[in-house]
Structure formats: structure tokens, C-alpha cells
Symmetry: C2
Subunit: 397 residues, 2 copies
Amino acid sequence: MDYKFASRLGNLQASAIREIFKYASDPEVIFFAAGNPSVEAFPKDEIKNITNDILTQNPVKALQYGNSEGYISLRNSIKNVILNKEDIVKENDDIIIMSGAQQGIEISCKVLCNKEDIVVCENPSFVGSLNSFKSYGVNLLGITLEHDGICLEELEEALKNNKNIKMIYLIPNFQNPTGFTMSLEKRKAVLELAKKYNVMILEDNPYGDLRFKGNHIPSIKSMDTEGRVIYCGSFSKILSPGLRVGYIVADKDFLQKVVICKQCSDVHTSMLSQLICNEFLQRVDYQKHISKLQQIYKNKSDLMLRELNDKLSDKIEYSKPEGGLFIWCTLPDNIPMDDFCKKAVQEKKVAVVPGKAFLPQDNLSTQSFRINYSTPTDEEIIKGVSLLKELLEEYNI
Amino acid sequence: MDYKFASRLGNLQASAIREIFKYASDPEVIFFAAGNPSVEAFPKDEIKNITNDILTQNPVKALQYGNSEGYISLRNSIKNVILNKEDIVKENDDIIIMSGAQQGIEISCKVLCNKEDIVVCENPSFVGSLNSFKSYGVNLLGITLEHDGICLEELEEALKNNKNIKMIYLIPNFQNPTGFTMSLEKRKAVLELAKKYNVMILEDNPYGDLRFKGNHIPSIKSMDTEGRVIYCGSFSKILSPGLRVGYIVADKDFLQKVVICKQCSDVHTSMLSQLICNEFLQRVDYQKHISKLQQIYKNKSDLMLRELNDKLSDKIEYSKPEGGLFIWCTLPDNIPMDDFCKKAVQEKKVAVVPGKAFLPQDNLSTQSFRINYSTPTDEEIIKGVSLLKELLEEYNI
């Protein structure tokens, strides 16, 4: 049949990341292209014991329908255990459980944006979110991302010149794909600009607890006094992405619409997953757990940065993240980035993500690619960087 | 803050069912308003054992990211174990895992319908689906639902007079809320009409395996030769709704778009949930399991119908479903339905769902309400029907 699809899907392509993931199952390929938590980071035994207890003591709760807002004990645990370091959940706010932060991001767009509205984002930014926005026919406007966060001048220029900007989408901590972290000054300034031009901020913080260097910087949401910031968090990087549990913190008036859309989307998030996350927060020493993860990612990041420094520092530029999972590498202008990434996977068997996957607009270009240190083993990190060095040397620069 | 919400949400209200669910936690209230599987129907021990095995043998698979199409073994098991009685998965078709059939329904609409397009549905129909459609700014057109399915004359009239109808949404087996089942003749005729007027059919079949009386009637999808029918199935009524696992069967060209939207929505369905469903289908004798469920629901349905017959048959009309979870009761014209339902819960402590919750358009009305026999205990069924009788007698009819 010749299907007539809705026009909102016009801009939506299968992402370039999917192309690369075809190589994920090839055992010969060193996979620097993922965003998966390290296998060592899963508290496998705790989850097994917790799950067994839930299905022994409270099976019907785990198997029966739940409500769309999410399991009330989990919502409280998130507030008391994960979000207790900052004033994130304000008096008029609430926490709603989402099937991953991804769902919070998609539904925020669904609730706020009409077709042809504009979402401002960092350039580059997380492709999953960009595709969510595009799936509602929204136009994206990318603002240059500097080492300390979004370029303020460019942002204000955009806000001044475009009346139908509805929200600014930001990943302030250890951004995907760059690993950059937004400075406190810029966080304050962006919030002021959002007020001045009356737009919302969608703050996506999946990696915030994975800081292994430097000092904590307050979230934008913690500075919000009027319900202008929507905050999305996730269990994917701190416990398990496979369980698909995230959450959204926002003003109750806003969340009322979110809950209706959530109900339309999947009724509620897996109750078993929610009960596991809740029991985990109840039973373990969360700070100790997080410290363990930070150590794992620090070791892996240190190793990859050492290898990059030893083997590639004269040839490429790369970010030095203080947390998260990603390093952003930039090739010299005379090496065609796409060609390099293709040869990396096809000839050297090292998969990296070409930077174009993260561009919010078709008319932008980049010399960068993303690599990840959480998924590969230490041996793979060492060998993979050597192979990238080999490939670079073949370009005779 | 004064939020400006997207215009697509204009028609979307918190559903009347949510109002009733406020009473769900009141232990004094007999709850005929749910659509929950019976607590006895959960294979609790099997699920516990299966889950423990998964988290012992294959924890990383359950906890790590999966792909958006769903776990390949589960997709195969659904085809071989659940859908093997009929020719549902055609040569050009595939099966994609959804976070409940609800997600399949929502995404089908997202993929096909522009704002102001029309979705034709049965009147009355399942409020969760109707809200999904509305959440894309789609207009609903309800067609009278007769005891043997949608009214064909009215349907053809609608198809003839409205150029922007994109799909016909149907629940052919033990429909929610009525319990009605569409005849074979009507299934064939609807497919012919869909061909003639070139619209898609969305066939929602969550209750199909819960037939406890009468003979199986082939699905519309099994008669489809051109990829015109999208088929949604679910584990919610045959295993557990809390796990949030459903699936969609459709032509591969169509599913390509579904997968992109699924990725935007929640990346993938809970891997742990998917692995549990798969292991369940692998290990148990599915036909035996289904027979057990059918017996549970037959007993409960028989009991409720006997009580209705003994106590209310001279006062109200009610459907006699051959499967599923619901009975549709119709009051005489001189009793105001809304008032009756309100008094039922407030004065008699029996919660039923007022029929208006299931109306696709605001300008429609109904004298009916929905009751459910799967959730209440046998004692509650007997007492609840007696209380409804008491209330009816107070109207002096």
C-alpha cells in the first residue's frame, strides 16, 4: 500500500546513530559509539534480591495497573534521596514518573509546542530529544555550544528575532554529545533571558550525579521561582536504562497536562520497574552507590583521556569532561569528518558517532565526532584509540 | 505562571473515568468501574521464578538498553505462540513491541493523522484510545455500535461524506465498554468499505483470547491482503498490565515510521518486562494458561449475569458478553444516567462508569453505564448488584 503519513513526520529521519548501531553486534568492532552505562555499574545482585522480594511480598502491586502519575512511594523517594541536595521540587511543583527521561522530553514538547513553533537547543545536542521535537513538526534552532555552555549573545539574538520560540532545551551537565558543562554564570543568565523573552526552559539532567571531577553546579531548576523550568531526570545512568524509569519535575499546572498525555501514551510506567527503583532507593546507601559509579567512570575517562593525550593530542582537539559518558573530538579542517568516521568503522573496526547526527539543522556542519568510554573495556579503549591514530596518520597530516 | 499549551490539547480533558477512580482506594466502595484483570488471574509464582532466573542468568540483558523494535525473541514468541491460530502476520508484516497496546494506538495516530483529520470509531468506545486520538487534534466521528458491531450504513455514509477520514478504529472482540462482538459478516464488510474509501483500519484486540463462550471469529487483520489493517495486541489481560507490554502488527513500510516514533517516545519498552513475557511464552503451556483465565472470567461473568437477571432484568437492559471484562447496562429513559451513577457511588458505595466517558463527541448522549466483573470478588458482585437494585427502586420505576 501507498501510505500517506502525517505531515509532522516530514523532517524525521532514522538517525545516523542507527546506522552505526548496525555494527554494535559485530564482535570484531570496538564500539565507541554507544551511550550505555558500563556493565560493571549495574548493581546486579541488589536488583535480583529486591525484585525477588517484591514478587514474593507484593506481586499484585507489581503486576496490576498503576496510576499515570506513578507510584507514590517512588515519587517521594526521588524527592528525598536523589533530589535532596538542591531545591529542585518547589512548593507548587510535583514529580511525575516517566518511562525514561525521553518520555518527559517528548511529552513536554507535545504539551507546549504547536507545529512550526521553535525549540531552541544547543548545537550540537542529543539526537533523541531533537527527534522528539521534530516528531511534532517543531522547527529547531541550534545555538553554538561553547566549552562553558550555550553562547549567550547568539541565544539572545535568536530570542529577539523569533516570536514563536516556546522553549530552550539544555543539558547543562556533561552534555551529550560534547561532555561540556554549563557554568553557573551562564545558567543564571539563560534563566534571565528565558524570563525576559517569556519562554520555558527544559533542563535535561541524566548525567548530573555522574560528576567525577570538579564541583557541583546548581541546576537551573533550583534557581527557578516561577515554574518556568521543566526538569527531567532518569534512572538510566544511575541504576539501569533497561527498566525505563525517569521523572519530570515541574509546576503542578503544567504537570496536569503532562499526566493526561502520559495516560494517552502508555497509561503508566512499568510497575515492576517502578517498585525496583523505589526499593533500591530505600535500601541502599545512595551516596555510596553513586560514589562507586563515579569511580568507575573516572577510571575509564582518565584512561581514554590519557590515550588521547599520548596518541592524538597533536592531531585532534577533544573535550575533557568532569562527568558523564562522552568525549567530543574535533578533526583538523583538512580531514573530511564523514569519510573519517566511515573508514574508522569499515577499515579499522572502531565505531564512533559522526557529529552530524547531533546537528539540529540540516544547514549546519561539523568536524567533530563523539566517543564514549563507559561501554568499551579498558583494553578496547587502548586499542581503539591506537586504531584511530593509525587512521589519522593515513591522511598524512 | 500562565502557561500557553499547544492547541492540540484543546479537546483533551481528564477523563470521567479518572473522577470515578478517586473512589478506587476507598475500602467501603464496591468497585465495578475498573478494567483490571482479576487478581486470581496473575500467574504470580511463575512470574517470580521466571524473573529470578532472568536476573540470575542474564541480568545485563534485562538492565541494559535494548532496541526500539523490541526483543527479537519476544517478537518471535508472539508470532509463534499467541498469533499462530490465524494468519495475522503477513509476508510483508512485522511485529514491534509496544509499551502496552495503548502506545501502539497512540503512535498509529501520530504516524497517520494530521490535525483536523478524522478518525472514525464505534460509539461508544474505549476512552483511552479516544483521548490518544484527541491528543493529536484529530476529530472523532462516532458510528452507532450495534450488538453485532458497527452500523454499516452509517459507516458508509460517513466515509462517503468526509474526505479526510484517515482510519477506522475498532475493538471487534468483547468491546470496551459494551462487551459486544462484531460478526464475521460485518468484519468482512468493514474491510471492503475501508478498501472502497481508501482508509486504514486500526484493530484493537486486547481481549480476544478471553473468549469463554461461543466460537472464535477471525480477526479483520487475518483477511487483510494489502497492509490496510494495523493490529494491536497486549499482554495486559493475558499476563499482567503492570509490566506494560503490548505489540503492533502491520506492514513493514508502516512500521518503519512507528519505530522512529517509538524511539522518540520511550526509546524501547522495559527490557525486564519483555524478557519476562518472552520466558512466560516459552515455558508455559499457553493454551492451558488461557483456558484457566477463560474459566475465571466465565465464572465471574456468569455470576454477574445471574445477579443482573435475578434482580434487575425488569428494570435495565444489559449486554451478555462472550468474553472480555465488561457488561454494558442501559437505564430506562426516565432515569437520568449521570445522576444514577453519582448516587450509586456516593450513596450506595458502588462505583460504575457513566457511559458518557466513552462517547467520541460532546454532542452525543447515552443512558448506559459500564460495569466490570473481573475486579470485584464474588461477594462484592452479589452485594453490588443488590445495591444497584436498591438505588433503582428509589427512582420509583
